[in-house]
């Protein structure tokens, strides 16, 4: 099945810093989503981005479907950005959203 790798596994930042999270996947996809799991365990949808670039406030994402990777940019990080960021994909001819192992982000004041 498709493999989804996220890097880095852990990231510690000071408030105000910028960061880039990466997601590599091993096969063509027709769905790619980024989620934030907050410290209370809720999975928050950030982006639905099988290709192209999107922005939402301080967050933006870009997916290169040909090179099989996606990037999530967090600018001017805040303590509320802390949590685990997951990338998840659906390979063509499957119906399964497969999750990566996540990037744990801690933002300190």
């Amino acid at each position: 099945g498709i493999q989804v790798e996220q890097s880095p596994p852990d990231l510690i930042l000071q408030e105000g810093a910028n960061s880039t999270l990466r997601c590599n996947f091993s096969d063509s996809v027709n769905n790619l989503q980024w989620f934030h799991q907050n410290p209370w365990g809720q999975l928050i949808n950030l982006f639905y981005i099988p290709s192209g670039t999107k922005q939402n406030g301080r967050l933006s994402a870009t997916t290169d479907a040909t090179e099989r990777y996606s990037l999530l940019y967090i600018s001017s990080s805040q303590t509320t950005d802390s949590g685990v960021y997951f990338c998840a994909v659906v390979a063509y001819n499957t119906d399964k959203l497969i999750f990566g192992t996540g990037t744990r982000l801690q933002v300190f004041p």
Binding site: N30, N31, Q33, F35, Q37, G41, Q42, L43, N45, Y48, V84, F86, A88, V90, Y92, D95, K96, L97, I98, F99, T101, G102
Partner: protein
């Protein structure tokens, strides 16, 4: 006006018991899912239903049985609970767009603890 809601949010029970988790979505989606998140935070798909029909059934013990009475509901029943079943179970839904699954939306999770 919660989009995907699960009950209960917390469940503590003894080994050997049978328990159910309920899920309802009011998004008008036609596909619903159950995911399991283990203690290492890894999220794995268990089941998926499309218009009340089972379309994904991963390698899950037979003690787990999903039931979809209608498109808006997908329940998970677990028999003879074991210690290893302790996890957070997430329900999700999406609207199929042709061959694509569409964007998935998740409930808040149900934390199951088996003693």
């Amino acid at each position: 006006d919660t989009a995907v809601s699960q009950t209960p949010k917390y469940l503590v029970t003894q080994m050997g018991n049978d328990k159910s988790i309920k899920c309802e979505q009011n998004l008008g989606h036609d596909t619903m899912y159950w995911y399991k998140q283990d203690s290492k935070k890894f999220l794995k798909i268990m089941f998926s239903y499309n218009n009340k029909e089972l379309i994904i059934n991963e390698t899950v013990p037979n003690r787990f049985s999903p039931k979809s009475p209608d498109k808006a509901h997908l329940n998970l029943h677990i028999n003879s609970l074991e210690l290893g079943d302790s996890a957070v179970y997430f329900c999700a839904s999406s609207h199929r767009q042709g061959m694509n699954t569409g964007e998935l939306f998740f409930g808040e999770g149900s934390r199951l603890t088996v003693l």
